[in-house]
Symmetry: C2
Subunit: 329 residues, 2 copies
DNA sequence: TGAAATCTTGCACGCGCTTTCAAAAATACG
DNA sequence: CGTATTTTTGAAAGCGCGTGCAAGATTTCA
């Protein structure tokens, strides 16, 4: 078997022209059924598959979609990525995975991916500049954002309803009689962090309340533990800590245990996302369900819609959230 | 700005031939420094980047590497994938992510990736047939296996020392005086499952012991809980449960809590891999550290070495493991 | 059976790029 | 200053594929 079998080899072996081979692999092309079958059989025997790279060159689609994901080892990102990749490849696309390096330049990564003639890009990490959005548009590769919205920039996005989610959580806490509430935020300059905090403050002010303390972590379990210890040791009597995501909430639960405080009796802790591990462990989390599958689906829908109609109006989809009541609050 | 700027456009704008543009972008090519600079400047201004798809067609490398990962939402797979992707892209490769669907055909996926002229494939999930290994070789795209070994088939692989890991664990349990030991295995037909179980039985027989019970889960937390409840409720007095991975061990810890049994006093539980979450929660796991970063690095080294020397002898790298002593055993 | 309509097929071109080759320019050396 | 050597450059030939076009084969219909 040769190192690389091309359409020419198949044509020769099947006694037809090279064009016929190409047509045999193109559904709906003008070939007699008999000949197509024959060509396909020969191709099979020779182990031939059309070179998708070469095909992409002729103007036909490459099927490549760039996916920029955050730190995959974090539960939410991993969960989302899994759905994204699954949906993508079951639709015949190939995900080109770009890591959003710490402090790494998403712009540069997308730029690089563009050189592979990707048909589109799904960005679920880092922050995108208007500039890169324009580059994508110029290349005809639509951009879809997940979990972040680039205002008034013509970029489609899908994002859960952070504000409503936090309203649900705050309502519950207040109804439980909690009044001394602290906020543990995530990485600064993060869209989710900003919207979620806004949601908390809105809901609180509706009850005439304000945050008693504000700390900031980096969305990781470890930072949840650290900041949790700090919050609970500050001498200020709190009765609830609202965290910007589940991982940090889990860390805070741990911190409470280390401080000998009972959750939820002495202190309530809430998360956000409802990642799989939120339901487990010492204290199952009361949290907000962020529907990943629906998110992934919507992102693809947006992408395909824009490929089909590049000029359609920018669309920002807000997927719905629901309160998940477990034991931590 | 045109929808797609090509080398021709740049050549025209810079007043040189298209070949010059190509050379300007090829390090070490024969171009005068002055002209290269000029061309690069014009290219920059026009927003030109060489089309990597077209470049790949000319026989130069595409830089694409297929990565087949398992269920990304599982901690170990996510952790490994993160390292893999990071190392890959910091070396200038682009990971093409292929999901190993449940019951999905790894063969078919790789076959598809081959059509993208990938330079190699790293398989960390599913099981590969000899057949697909041959196809890869024929295409000149080396295959590297992670965590699984395809005996006598000329496929390079990197895999941790499962046997030794289990010896370490069993030694510790026995030294603690535990004798009534059960095994909770993972998905059947899995290389890790088989080797790890073998390791346990070897070590046990060295002490003249045998397993008191054998159950099987699917490497998930949930199955750990289910089987843990079953094992602990079977009426048979156990003093240790050795699990095939951390996730199941965490589930068993949970099961013990539900049964009102104290870990490690009444029952010891051990994991394998030392995923980040193993150190957390109600009962930090005593486990075996599976060095992911080293694994990822070795896999790339193997890949590159074989690309460079296709005929080199098959190499199977066993990365070392260490015992991580925490509280669960 | 013959002409018109319909399929089927092969040729040749182009996608955007790299690279060989030979010609042209620049440099070296006597 | 002339020739030998080296460097720089452009023309052209692919890489593997899809597709428009026109010629050839087949079918249809009168």
């Amino acid at each position: 078997m040769s190192i690389r079998v091309t359409a020419d080899d198949v044509a020769q072996a099947a006694g037809v022209s090279r064009a016929m081979v190409s047509r045999a692999f193109t559904p709906g092309a003008s070939v007699s059924a008999k000949k197509r079958e024959h060509v396909l059989a020969v191709a099979q025997a020779l182990g031939y598959r059309p070179n998708l790279i070469a095909r992409g060159l002729t103007g036909r689609s490459t099927g490549l979609i760039a996916v920029v994901a955050g730190e995959i080892s974090r539960p939410y990102e991993a969960w989302l990525l899994e759905h994204l990749v699954f949906e993508l490849s079951s639709r015949g696309y190939q995900p080109l995975l770009l890591p959003a390096l710490r402090g790494g330049n998403v712009t540069e990564m997308i730029d690089h991916a563009l050189a592979y003639q990707v048909e589109g890009a799904i960005v679920a990490a880092g922050s995108v500049s208007r500039e890169i959005a324009d580059r994508c548009r110029a290349s005809g590769a639509p951009l879809v954002l997940i979990g972040r919205v680039l205002e008034s920039s013509g970029v489609d996005a899908v994002c859960c309803d952070n504000i409503k989610g936090m309203h649900l959580l705050v309502n519950r806490l207040v109804q439980q009689g909690r009044r001394r509430i602290a906020w543990l935020g995530g990485t600064e300059d993060t869209f989710s962090d900003q919207e979620r905090r806004l949601g908390v403050e809105q809901a609180l002010s509706h009850y005439g309340l304000t945050l008693m303390a504000v700390h900031r972590g980096d969305f990781s379990l470890q930072s949840g533990l650290n900041e949790g210890l700090a919050l609970l040791g500050a001498g200020q009597p709190l009765d609830a800590i609202i965290c910007a995501n589940d991982a940090m909430a889990l860390g805070v639960v741990e911190a409470a245990a280390q401080r000998g405080m009972r959750v939820p009796d002495e202190i309530a802790v809430t998360g956000f996302d409802d990642v799989p591990s939120a339901a487990w462990g010492r204290c199952p989390l009361t949290t907000v369900r962020n529907p990943v599958q629906e998110t992934a689906l919507e992102a693809l829908r947006l992408l395909e819609a824009r490929v089909k109609t590049p000029t359609r109006a920018t669309q920002i989809v807000r997927v719905g959230v629901t309160l998940v009541e477990r034991v931590s609050a």
